[in-house]
Symmetry: C2
Subunit: 499 residues, 2 copies
């Protein structure tokens, strides 16, 4: 590194270290921390976050960043490091402290109200609190600003840098147009695969052992990471050499642990795959939530729910659970883990209907933010939209507009990244297959190294050296599109449902 | 808290939170962190430590402390909080940064040399490195200064505030004079209790379950703490509501896990017992290493190795290990866990000979620091002193002067706190018994609440509101002395060895 800018890089290392520490603190809180430690941990996390914020908004850092950016002698990578730091700092500096504080309080109040309202199935109990969050989010969007002048874009940019409503709207409209007929054809087929064998009793320890086998086989490095249990599976990285994934095991539903592990493993492989050269820099990071999600969904859905994958693993699963799976052949198993059915709850949705849930949220949250939709009208609007898009109607708001934590938590612009994850994943596999027609033979042998190697080179190691769209476009040789995803779904589900 | 000093208290909270975070980081490093995470974790810990140091030495904090100390309107407790913060800050400010850095480097080099030298049983491989550590420690002692003008006292004060060589020397001389004849009488008795049943195979999980039973029974609050495994048992507190103890289990030696758990439980009970009013303050801390050690040793030795204790627990241990303990009665078990035998290695020493190991170190480390003893002469001096005090001679330096990490680690003045822990523990139990003659009946019933309640009130809740000596003196109604300890040993071992 250029010595002249050593103080800047030292600051960057320090900020990155604090991020890592925060990652570990949150991992611990969700895994091993004793219940009584919660208040103290909250204060400790708050203290580290406040220190990080203070260091980030320090005007001296701003000067150091500008000094570096003006220095033509910087390498391209150093220039990018400074750019990313500038982005982080802008996000921290642009929002006035009074707004940060008001937002944190409003969010905390809204989260509490949401929990109560959801429990009592009474949306009016969170109406006022959600309105306040939205009011402050609109202020935050104004403070952040966006090149497009669209409020929603300012918020979206936090989760998916450089993505805009102008790009998403037509894309999501086409996606909807492509998905709805597929869902309808599957429904019209009137075939409900047998899934009863997945609700027998599966021993906890044997499930755990099987998930550890999957982790290892998929290439997760257990010397630079680990798996534990938590009530909601997640991935938290303290560093690329310290990546923690979690899973949860239900003895009456083995698919939960299996697909949670594969999903988090995808996130984990990404975090472990950042370039060593980028250690402790702003480049050892995902350029967006969407691209992060693409890695988890690629492994969970495209690979982990494929026929080839279970051709390899079903015999092993049967060896662990011979009585439960005695009469289950590969076809039956493959169908059972790929049931398509319009449903009310996003997190339980299959990969075909899933994105329709997102489209509902994407449209509603734009309207909420702009004020076109009043908070009081949300439940009715939600139900109407669900009926229109998915053909189902919640019986109460807890399984309707209150099912997700995101809005009460103040995360507007987050939902679309899930669908972007699915789109990116499909584009990646599609592009990989074109040049590596042996993909499914490899998967059928449990050989994931070639695909992982390609993802390492084309996605993981690039870190945040470009936007997500750019990195994916470079990897696949073309722009963001929905045809890869629709093509994947059609091929898979036409076969599965014999359409 | 007085509003006027709010900025000072905010700083104190912040420093305390960072200490807690460091506690958690080190716990994680010794329990769950993947092996490959070590370098990244080292950097993260270094960053948090550096931030803490920067905040501590900040001149503004010095002014705030002095402002508070000059304010007559402070409550007595607030005054003490500021005093403790002043002490912490002085320790950080007095040693120049160049010395801190040189010392850290010398220590790191010496630790590496020590590992190699110990492995190769060749002291000369660490001679130069240890000399450098000692040279810098002498400088550090000068920088810290002491009211007595004695170099050693300056270092001792870090571990045992307000303790001095002038107090320790006569005390340790008397202790030695009391211990040696007891050890000799036991040796002369020529009786080696049967311990063979303790080296049979004891199932790992059953041992774990038994240690968890002990933890719970002794009063360790598992909603405000937890037990895990580590290669060296330790206690690390992120907060009084977040206390982590560890144990280690050997299938061929159940006493390791049992007494490690009881020992760390003693440390853990202390950390959990600080007054809630002192949360996040400098008063929620042990006033010394010695008093901390008194809590672990009190439970491990005085209670955990007592006849009454095993009258209650041996039947339970037998229920877990019926074949291994079939022929073992209470007397035999009690004798087996209390074997006295002069030996070479401190960490394996019994409670009678243990303090003689400390006395050897106490004398040698004073001579090393003053320069009266040259590092090159240490092995010979060690062997001579061991022969003189314990009557044994190491066959090589790895089981001699290189057995402990402390000196290479730069911890001179640490060893005496172990013996102080034993002395304090004996005084506490002795005083408690005087007013609570039912102690051993309680212990025999597994009822530890009365003793714990008394320790809570007289030791734990006081935290760092006074020096260790003062707190113990208040609790027992008299000054530091060795007679309680010698009396305890004589009574116990005269009976055990039928002297």
């Amino acid at each position: 590194m250029t010595d002249r800018h050593a103080p800047l890089w030292a600051r960057m290392f320090e900020l990155k270290d604090l991020e890592g520490v925060l990652g570990l603190l949150s991992w611990d809180e969700e895994t091993y921390a004793p219940s009584g430690a919660r208040p103290a941990r909250g204060r400790q996390t708050g203290t580290v976050e406040a220190l990080r914020h203070q260091r980030l908004v320090d005007p001296a850092l701003g000067d150091q960043i500008q000094g570096a950016l003006a220095d033509g002698a910087l390498t391209a990578e150093q220039h990018l490091m400074a750019k990313r730091l500038e982005r982080q700092r802008n996000l921290a500096v642009k929002v006035p402290e009074s707004l940060v504080k008001a937002f944190a309080e409003a969010r905390s109040t809204a989260l509490e109200a949401w929990q109560k309202a959801k429990k009592e199935r009474n949306f009016s109990l969170m109406e006022k609190e959600l309105s306040e969050v939205l009011r402050l989010l609109a202020q935050k969007a104004d403070a952040l600003g966006s090149t497009t002048g669209v409020k929603y874009d300012a918020l979206l940019d936090e989760y998916e840098p450089e993505m805009t409503v102008a790009t998403l709207r037509p894309l999501f409209a086409q996606l909807r147009a492509g998905l709805v007929p597929l869902v309808e054809r599957i429904a019209a087929r009137g075939r409900r695969p047998d899934t009863s064998f997945l609700s027998q009793r599966y021993d906890d320890q044997k499930q755990w052992d099987f998930t550890m086998l999957l982790l290892r086989d998929l290439g997760f490095d257990l010397e630079r990471g680990r798996q534990d249990r938590s009530s909601h599976p997640f991935t938290s990285a303290a560093a690329p050499s310290d990546v923690r994934v979690t899973t949860r095991i239900f003895e009456d539903n083995p698919s939960s642990a299996i697909f949670s592990t594969i999903h988090e493993c995808g996130h984990g492989l990404y975090e472990q795959g950042f370039a060593r050269d980028h250690d402790r820099t702003t480049l050892a990071a995902a350029p967006s939530m969407g691209i992060h999600e693409s890695q988890s969904r690629l492994w969970e859905n495209q690979i982990g729910r494929s026929r080839a994958f279970w051709g390899h693993y079903l015999p092993m699963l049967k060896a662990s659970f011979p009585t439960q799976l005695a009469k289950v052949d590969l076809e039956a198993f493959h169908r059972a883990i790929n049931v398509v059915e319009p449903s009310l709850v996003r997190v339980e949705a299959d990969e075909v209907t899933y994105n329709l849930h997102i489209i509902v949220r994407f449209e509603l949250e734009q309207a909420l933010l702009s004020g076109d939709l009043k908070v009081a009208e949300l439940p009715a609007a939600w139900n109407a939209k669900m009926k229109e898009v998915l053909g189902v109607t919640p019986t109460h708001d807890a399984e309707g507009c209150m099912q997700d934590i995101h809005w009460a938590w103040g995360a507007i612009g987050y939902f679309p990244t899930y669908t972007l994850g699915n789109l990116y994943a499909a584009q990646l596999v599609h592009a990989y297959e074109r040049h590596h027609p042996g993909l499914w033979d490899d998967v059928a042998k449990g050989n994931f190294a070639p695909l992982l190697g390609w993802l390492r080179a084309n996605i993981h190691r690039r870190g945040f050296t470009a936007s997500a769209q750019q990195i994916v476009a470079d990897a696949v040789g073309g722009p963001l599109e929905i045809e890869s995803f629709l093509g994947y779904l059609r091929q898979k589900y036409h076969a599965l449902y014999e359409l």
